[in-house]
Symmetry: D2
Subunit: 315 residues, 4 copies
Amino acid sequence: MKLTKDQINQIKNQQSQNNQTKRATVPELEKILYEAVPALDHGFVRVIDYMGDDTSIVQAARVSYGKGTKKVSTDEGLIKYLMRHWHSTPFEMCEIKYHIKLPIFIARQWIRHRTANVNEYSARYSILDKEFYLPTTENLAAQSLNNRQGRGDVLEGDQAKEVLELLKNDAERTYNNYETMLNQRFDGSQIDESKKGLARELARMNLTLNTYTQWYWKTDLLNLMNFLRLRADSHAQYEIRVYADIMLDTLKRWTPITYDAFMDYRVGGTEVSAKGKIIIEKLIKREDVNIENSGLSKREWNELMEAFKLNDRII
Amino acid sequence: MKLTKDQINQIKNQQSQNNQTKRATVPELEKILYEAVPALDHGFVRVIDYMGDDTSIVQAARVSYGKGTKKVSTDEGLIKYLMRHWHSTPFEMCEIKYHIKLPIFIARQWIRHRTANVNEYSARYSILDKEFYLPTTENLAAQSLNNRQGRGDVLEGDQAKEVLELLKNDAERTYNNYETMLNQRFDGSQIDESKKGLARELARMNLTLNTYTQWYWKTDLLNLMNFLRLRADSHAQYEIRVYADIMLDTLKRWTPITYDAFMDYRVGGTEVSAKGKIIIEKLIKREDVNIENSGLSKREWNELMEAFKLNDRII
Amino acid sequence: MKLTKDQINQIKNQQSQNNQTKRATVPELEKILYEAVPALDHGFVRVIDYMGDDTSIVQAARVSYGKGTKKVSTDEGLIKYLMRHWHSTPFEMCEIKYHIKLPIFIARQWIRHRTANVNEYSARYSILDKEFYLPTTENLAAQSLNNRQGRGDVLEGDQAKEVLELLKNDAERTYNNYETMLNQRFDGSQIDESKKGLARELARMNLTLNTYTQWYWKTDLLNLMNFLRLRADSHAQYEIRVYADIMLDTLKRWTPITYDAFMDYRVGGTEVSAKGKIIIEKLIKREDVNIENSGLSKREWNELMEAFKLNDRII
Amino acid sequence: MKLTKDQINQIKNQQSQNNQTKRATVPELEKILYEAVPALDHGFVRVIDYMGDDTSIVQAARVSYGKGTKKVSTDEGLIKYLMRHWHSTPFEMCEIKYHIKLPIFIARQWIRHRTANVNEYSARYSILDKEFYLPTTENLAAQSLNNRQGRGDVLEGDQAKEVLELLKNDAERTYNNYETMLNQRFDGSQIDESKKGLARELARMNLTLNTYTQWYWKTDLLNLMNFLRLRADSHAQYEIRVYADIMLDTLKRWTPITYDAFMDYRVGGTEVSAKGKIIIEKLIKREDVNIENSGLSKREWNELMEAFKLNDRII
């Protein structure tokens, strides 16, 4: 990631602010406020604003449940209770705003989470930067034959090289033609004074999906966790997981108690179905249980055994 | 409005905070942060947190529209442009959180605005305060015969007195019976040791709809304006308008430029239909126009004439 | 529940419709379409419209995952897979609309689910029916001392009778005074020609929270299941559970495959935290585990043991 | 637009259904149900399900406003009233589901409307078709110098030809390289048995933004109108307007009364600010008014004059 001079100055200016406030403030998060944490080859994640902290969640829950919550003596105990029992509204009382730079094909995955506010850089009005994502050789992966949804064997050697060449050349060529059609370069300078330029809203269609875009993305803590649960998961695409992992770090700085409860109950936890519960119960009670009498499909059976590290029972 | 000792102390504590932050901060709003502004006879409005300011809107818009917005030189010009053209996402970048105390029948109207986060004091778990709304004599109004949706002639004299007596007595009696059923007073003390108490979740059903409740209510700036446009309007019920008016004041402190644009384009503005446009055009051009050839109903015609203060044309 | 003549006729009319359509149609649901299924003493649940069926979910999933889903051969297999892995969007493709009559204090709980469309009977414009909820003697319950959130020992004998008297008398008195203030009866007839009436929007505040209201409530299948998971749960208040149970039946008629998966994975299932997983693993592997070395609180420990019916390990 | 054999058969099958239902049914919409209406060069719009009609709106409004609405005698009068006064919830009672095929850069604009349910064809799991959007020569437009947000002078002759060549060649080359990287063709056949293939989730990044995608898109009538107001507007990008215009036709078939009100009050209407109202009032009353004493910017002034076709006053 290379920031422009303008960007570096803007970040410096923002970080040099020193305001007095009566609002809840989180020193650990303030330390990295506005900072551009690198993601992939040209992307970044910046926390640019936030509202509330762990205490705000507790405060909201205590208003809701009134004197009833007084018996849970600590903030930590209460937050764990809320997380365990899927109480959602207290976590909605905190809000965070990110500035993210990311490849378009990842942005398209990301935007499916509709419960956030978004302001994206518009290629209808502005010229996009000449920056596109290229995977590292390690990440170029052959799609395995038995799992068409992820990556399997790593593409190596000449074939990896070849793929990277194709990606690079196509992105560069299409970007150059984008400029040609616009009759303009990114800095706004005209290319050929005797020619007209194509409208930006049309020319952009020539760009490839690994071109970088950027947006402001604002969400409440509950929906941030919903996002992270899906996108920091091992089944998520690597490229979005890179962002989710960075955001998990910001969550830890921002609301450390909530972060711990989230890691324990959501990220590290598992769901067991009604049928699965009976199997676990029988396993503990040393009763006879096997896939045939379980009512589970092979896939379900294996997912259950994996969740509890019963590797010798995986079929 | 009378605050309890506990509440007064809590507000003092909150207001005595003095934190350093790099976040956008609004001194005018900080001045009243946490303060309980009285509403109706026992209610209040408190701003208890916020995120962003006018600048955050401008910043988000400039990310979106990129270099394209550079031609609108001032922040004010840009915010007015956004408001005029119904650009919504930049206004979603700011967030505010209120603590509100209000009668239940107003809470039921309020909650229909679904795009907010709410934590309400739960009468399932806690005993509600013995506080209920009683209108002032001025506000006791007879429903006019030709407008069944609002209030018409003011109820006066003996009849007003009688209504107030009924409201007061019924609220007090049902509250006392609420305590009797709970076998408990608000402070938690038992009434009759030889008796059991009814569950709170059931006993609450005996309370009248003017009993006060309270909640934390958090929303973004766009949805706050949507709420205020409807609820600060002269057609809104008086009791919710009281809250909306106080919140308009907090909006003015928080984002003064947005507030001005909002008052000009939304609150003070009007919509003209396709048919209405033709009539206005003709009126300006001194062409013949009357309700018969207008295609408007009498009601529509009058609404249009009123909007432009053409009182002599109202039928 | 007693329907008025008007209501009975309206239902008959609606049920006598016989339209031709190319849309997905569910005969099992059509059988009860428009029917008022009784709930509590005066309430009801009516399915009045729907869109889509189990097939619509499968169809949407196959568009999403394309050729990838062809390997899951059956509709049932695919729907179970979607449910197990929290895929949400295919379930959003079905929609259902209910007409519900319910006490106001339950409506207030219900409305907290914001992801639905609601049109409620407005007491601002119309006079509410003289109908209010009274629990049966069996349901009058004393709040247990160790669980302030639910009901414990059942209130019996004279005390139960007394509570019911209080509820009944207060509801009737406040309703009568509501009419007095309006100077009008429910049927619209004036009470005293020499008097003015109070506006409906004000008079309603005198009603108690067990007064019945009604609304149209429309939601998609995903959010219906989110609602039912919380409200058909044994921890939900009895009065809302009555409605949720009826709606579970309508779900079974509408989308029977989804219903089965929902009962298995959500309603009958459980969540196990990261720490809990280790304990279960150890229990199965006969390793030493107890509450001290578990890292769980007593409450968490007991919840875990209960989930797997390990009753002898509950502390 | 050319449909595959499979698609043609699927549509035939869907259209041959003939189910009996008691639900509200709209014969005019049934006529085109499932039909693929062509949009741009390879896209289409298909209505594949719906719920409710004009009557459903009226019914919901009458539940809400109760006896109060009886005075508005006709359905048309009531729907117009609801539209004029921004009553939103009755319009949420109807739902429609589309199957849309559209270029990715348009899908990215479209998805910003978050209040809809979406299931998009996933290039993570499946191979995209070799279809990409190419504008017609008429639509290739040079971006005007004074309006960087739209298109100005039409690119003509050789330059237009050149741009079309670039778009076509780049889309074809990147698609071919996409297949090469996958080591697979769209039909699933392997290209080179001695080679591995890149994961689909990665290979897709090489495609250009004019590649076609498809999705199921479901929304309620209120949000459909919000979408159409913005996207059928003359300021919307041509390529999305093509879709919006087709959808306007489906709206007309589905809910003709609502359609008329929508065209009159929203699409054909205009907003006038508080300051603007004074100017219009003065113009009608022949009072002195000009841009200097109006308080409007030049841009605002011109927009106002344009709205009422006062062309000779445009500056």
